[in-house]
Symmetry: C2
């Protein structure tokens, strides 16, 4: 299960690789980050991949560079899905704690985890079983408490996509945002719910009712477009109109479902809305036992980041835990917007009317 990125790297000669890179990644040479020896050592010890890339912006006269590092974590669950809930969760916490420590040592300032990162992705089984106990409050729930401590310790903004159970007992597919002081600063709830094959998520939680919030953090303006929301151009658009510089797309998706789309939808959104997009997908094979029937799902990882100019990093592996570190200059958002003018030529007034008319002919 070698990644496309690796296959290509090993088969093309230098000139061919440059041309491939230009089309496929948007840049002739992927700019790799020099990572610390300790990072490499920890990744071997912890059996997870680490990769680092950087995106460059032009030097400006009036604005200083606005450089920071993002971290994306893709991971598998640790224990079988029939083990006690608290043990399953604790095992994931333990693994993630180590990877976040490494991210912190590399000066990652904003970090995002995958969709419902605390649990097996049972939402694609059509069943709830005892797994329903993974749902937790956004504020003061176990995962928020766990990450708040790390966020404060490392002065890191952390996005934590969880299954939320609110005070009325209603479920939501939610991304909690914790700031660098360890404080909860808000949340986004998944706007578009799939009903595709066994992914019948409408039977679990309600469509997001919080619109398209952008969180103005110490390190940048960030937003979250959860999983299936990436298929909806208007969802991406609204985060852009609301000022996002970086939009994270935490996901849980399997090869039968649109691996073909994975590398292009978030990338097209980055271009159209002149922001960075960060695509995160879980890895590993999960087995769900339902009335003695076994259901198996394998997730393909391949997490990557795209810059507003359409350049993207190679993806993390398809089957290993991984930490992707990306250094970027937020100035690139405005530079690309000024160059392409997509916002100046968007004619939103025309579309507001056209859509309205389509809804009420």
């Amino acid at each position: 299960m070698d990644s496309l990125d690796n296959i290509i790297k090993n088969r093309l000669n230098k000139d061919q690789l440059k041309q491939f890179n230009k089309i496929y990644y948007g840049t002739e040479d992927n700019c790799e980050l020099e990572l610390k020896e300790s990072t490499k050592a920890e990744s071997v010890k912890g059996n997870f991949e680490v990769a680092g890339y950087s995106f460059i912006a032009k030097k400006e006269e009036l604005r200083k560079p606005n450089v920071l590092r993002l971290g994306l974590i893709q991971h598998s669950i640790v224990l079988p899905t029939d083990k006690p809930i608290s043990e399953q969760r604790q095992a994931i916490f333990k693994k993630i704690e180590k990877i976040i420590e490494v991210a912190a040592s590399e000066d990652v300032r904003i970090l995002c985890l995958q969709e419902t990162w605390t649990m097996p992705f049972f939402l694609c089984t059509g069943e709830k079983e005892k797994w329903e106990e993974f749902a937790e409050p956004a504020i003061n729930g176990p995962s928020t408490l766990f990450l708040s401590k790390l966020a404060k310790q490392y002065e890191m903004v952390i996005i934590s996509p969880i299954l939320e159970r609110d005070e009325d007992g209603k479920w939501w597919n939610t991304a909690v945002v914790i700031d660098e002081k360890g404080d909860y600063i808000g949340k986004h709830r998944k706007n578009h719910l799939p009903s595709v094959g066994s992914y019948s998520e409408t039977s679990y939680y309600a469509p997001g009712n919080l619109g398209h919030p952008v969180f103005d953090t110490k390190y940048g303006k960030i937003a979250v477009n959860i999983c299936y929301g990436r298929h909806h151009a208007l969802n991406w658009l609204m985060f852009g109109l609301n000022g996002a510089q970086i939009v994270f797309n935490p996901a849980a998706t399997i090869a039968e479902f649109g691996e073909t789309f994975w590398g292009i939808e978030a990338r097209t959104a980055a271009i159209a809305n002149h922001y960075f997009t960060c695509s995160i997908n879980r890895v590993g094979t999960e087995e769900y036992f339902i009335n003695k029937d076994k259901k198996v799902r394998t997730y393909y990882g391949s997490s990557y980041v795209t810059a507003p100019n359409g350049c993207r990093t190679p993806g993390l592996s398809k089957d290993r835990d991984g930490l992707l570190i990306v250094e970027l200059d937020l100035n690139l958002c405005r530079q690309v917007r000024d160059q392409w003018g997509f916002n100046m030529t968007s004619r939103l007034d025309v579309y507001a009317k056209s859509i309205e008319k389509k809804l009420c002919p």
Copy 2:
């Protein structure tokens, strides 16, 4: 200037190629069309490339297959840009006539030419010079008359993107649609105008005032999204909401300008809106002399077609005239829509309100 498609084909082994194809084209094996010997002979004689592919749909119980062939033509200009207008145009007509004849012999039912196909793309020079004389009426203009004859003769729907000069002398970047009887049935005018680098097209023609028409032809429901309009997700969306099964994107674009985006934007649109997209870009190097200054632009071709399921054909070459023939089953549109449900989960009411609010806060 070998295309990425060719580089890859010659360098990967069979298994690697399958994996590459799956990610890059959306299918492990591109399904090539068997073309006639006479087609191959004519393409050698006329020095143009011919390539054919097919997309398969599932057999249904209640609907018959709805199979047809599309043709896309990419071409260079023939004479230098300082030759007399009528000679330049006539030379292009002559070349195109031959390629359309070959398309007809292969049973192409809907054919689309590139943006402003009758002329050098002087719109990227910032100058008008005598080239302004290429602008022509949509009805009974020289290119409409020329193509109407061929459309009737071959019972072919032809989309003819031209520079339009209307009865008030106003210019538009227009796609004329001619039906299989040779009759003019309508036109679309480019909605989004670039002001990027030397592409300052707002100084030539006005933003489209005809919305997002879909033409219900004998062979299928078709629409045209001209060039820079492909960067605007809402433009693609409206053609979809209006019922398009095939959207053509005739363009004139150079490598410095988003060759990186070329392969992904129309493809993302095909997926999001469950229709076929057909991307056509001119080829060749054009020299424009303005007050003795020479400006040179090289267009990169790479025309391709994407199916609603995200599968795409390889691109035509980067530097040769070419005819791309694609056999497809229009039933695939509904099949993919039913599978993915993007239209059922689009929450357009939310967006109509959000965009409106953004415009009038």
